[in-house]
Amino acid sequence: MFAQFFTEYQSNQFQWPSGGLTRYQKLQDTTFSKSVKIVSTEDVRTAQSNGLLSFQLPGDTSTLQVEASLISEDPTTAFIWSGKITSAPGGYVTFIYLDGKTAGFIHSGKDFYEISPIDSNHQFLVKRNNDYNGSGGCETEEEEPPGDDDCLYEPSDNTCPALITVLLILTPEAQDSIENKYGSVDLFALLGQTSVNMAFWNSDIPNKEIRVKWVTKDSFPFSPGLDYVADLTTFKTFAEPERKDNNADLVVFVPHVDYEEIGGYANLPISPDPARAFSIVEINYFLNEYVLAHELGHNFGCRHNWPLDYGDDNTDVCSHGKRYIPLGPNPQQGPIHDIEGSWRTMMAIPVDPEVTFIYTFDGLDYSVKIITNEVILHYSNPAVSYEGEPTGRALGKVADNAGRIRNVGCEISEYDDVSELAVNFSMTDLCTDSVIFTSFITAPTSPLPGVAPYTVYWFWNTTGIFGSSQQFLGTGDTLTLLAHPECPVYWVKCAVVSDDNVVVSRIKKITLAQVPCSCNEEERPARGREVPKSISKAPSFSIFPNPVAQGTLFVQTDEFLSLKTVAYKITDVGGREISNGIPETFSGSILSVPVAGLANGLYFLNLLLPEGTQEIHKFIINKTY
């Protein structure tokens, strides 16, 4: 069934919409495309099951398994579903739905595919040409750049919520180019936004998020020699009115021109500075080389990799990227080692696989060539692993881009002092007896819409696809759960409705331990984030229906005789006792518990067993009458 996720069409079997065939031919003609297929893509919202998706790419018999990790309902009304490929060779997948159109990307090992809409039912599936194109300057320099201060490394636990607004300013020609390649600038911008937010998620940078806006502006006075250094300086002045009008914190120039040597160029401030919040990102590298995420990383103060990791920057600061160079067991010093399985984090630079360099490991020098050169959608973080290897380094040549972003994210989000209505939420330690979810509402700056007072609604489900399947938990700025509604993974949605009926929401994935739920450490250490909570054991009873739409909850067990002595207690999510009593026998082994007086929400049925033990079942009241 999953093979049907993509249905391929031939160009002569297809009823082209206006301009579609021209787009198809242009995509085929560009050197950035390895192949262009016409497909119809199933909607991931219905194709997924509990946040899991399996599919095959056209012409490929291997099945990719994807697990959702980031799902959001964008204020632009877009729906975004992003996940990690959990099957070999690993990678990332994103699907975006906006205005009835589908876009996305699939990064599977060394292959990168872009999905762009043709019409409401069909898409281009473009396999990108990511072959190394020989940019210079990537070889290790002997000389060291001067440093500014020592790397006094302390892991950052800064989890302050930050919504950072990024404004793309396009030339009119760039807008045309993007519309030809991606079908829509809105989708292009959202794909870039998702790549960065996905990297934040993967890198354990909680509560930080970017929101991408875009405008087109003509008459940019390019320098006569297309000097990106001069152009970035000119751009700062050029972008000033749009930055203010769009309340942007960071501003990115997306030109139609192709600068020599680079795919992007950015201010690298030593500390947050709104005057150094600018970058250039070329269209062809924006997404499939994650150059947007890379250049924005520079604006946060993140730097490339150490010479140790085959980079140029030996400055003694903590915020370096990392390249993993698996030398293999018992390496010999003499021969050249072809390094397979190497990867680099977002801020590390690509290398030429033809170049031999000296890699110093455990005090010994080895000749190596980096044959595989894959970028992973991670900022370096010593506490987060990829395929068992830490993506950063806490000792020696410290590499912790994530720590830098954690520390400066909130300050950068305040570059522009005008805020739009935004919501975020946090949760207390998931291993304690009760878990408290707390919403953080950023009120808009007057006269923007979204004014107080606010009503906060909480929902959960197991798929991340809210709407018809969402279960209501309650209202209030905080929500206390005595146990988790689902284990090991569920999703919580916090929706805020303002007095003038502006609605913003935030969805978060709550990841507990592997089944059975316990407080075991996750494979990926996460600072202050989803650690598991023990809530269940093998149940003696089952309850139904759940959710309860009528006035009775039923309890069923095979141990009929013991039922006569069972008592019950019902509590709400705040732990308050709502009712208690002895359940009545409904029929045979089924007991009934009256719940007609309960309002919609999540409750817990506490069954008191004859031997003095208790068993807790959660249930939901969802009256539709």
Partner: protein, 185 residues
């Protein structure tokens, strides 16, 4: 022999656009007339008083032989220093250098700037013309419109306050001399 020298001098003048000898506004040194200001293909300049080892080139604007720009690139440790003067008229004269703005890139008044780059795409700082300083000029002494060779000299003072302690807050480029072939784009 004297006549022969005169004939050669006249022939050379015929090949080279005639440059006025009007007194430039900010010059302190006499203008060399018959000898090259520096070797063809080179630029010499002091950066904050020290000789700057950088490679330079000059290019015309696209489809426009009336204007050109000069760009230079050097390395300080592994930091790249990229300097440019744009909007230079391709004719003899002494021109003030002004600060780059949004809409003054086509007014035939040269603008200068210098960027400090770490490892390809990380800009540490950018220095723009310090408008409080006088004596900023670019002078074209000789311009050969047939062979597209230009000779001249320049001086500019750039400012760019920075938090990077290892970078200066200003850059003075003085005693600049250039003798370059201008490439067409």
């Amino acid at each position: 022999m004297k006549d022969l020298f005169m004939s050669i001098a006249i022939a050379l003048l015929a090949l080279t656009t005639s440059c006025s000898k009007s007194k430039p506004e900010a010059l302190v040194d006499p203008i060399p007339v018959d000898t090259a200001i520096t070797e063809l293909g080179t630029v010499s300049v002091l950066k904050n008083g020290e000789p700057w080892n950088a490679s330079f080139y000059a290019k015309y604007y696209i489809n426009n032989l009336g204007r050109f720009f000069i760009s230079g690139k050097g390395f300080n440790n592994s930091l790249e220093e990229r300097f440019s003067v744009i909007d230079i008229p391709a004719k003899c004269g002494n021109y003030l250098i002004e600060r780059s703005g949004l809409w003054n890139g086509n007014n035939n008044i040269p603008q200068a700037g210098l960027g400090i780059i770490l490892d390809l795409d990380q800009e540490l700082n950018y220095y723009s013309v310090d408008t409080t300083r006088a004596n900023q000029y670019l002078e074209i002494l000789r311009y050969d419109s047939v062979n597209h060779i230009v000779e001249g000299r320049f001086q500019t003072f750039l400012e760019g306050p920075t938090d990077y302690s290892f970078l200066p807050d200003s850059v003075a480029l003085t005693e600049g001399k250039f003798h370059l072939k201008i490439e067409k784009q």
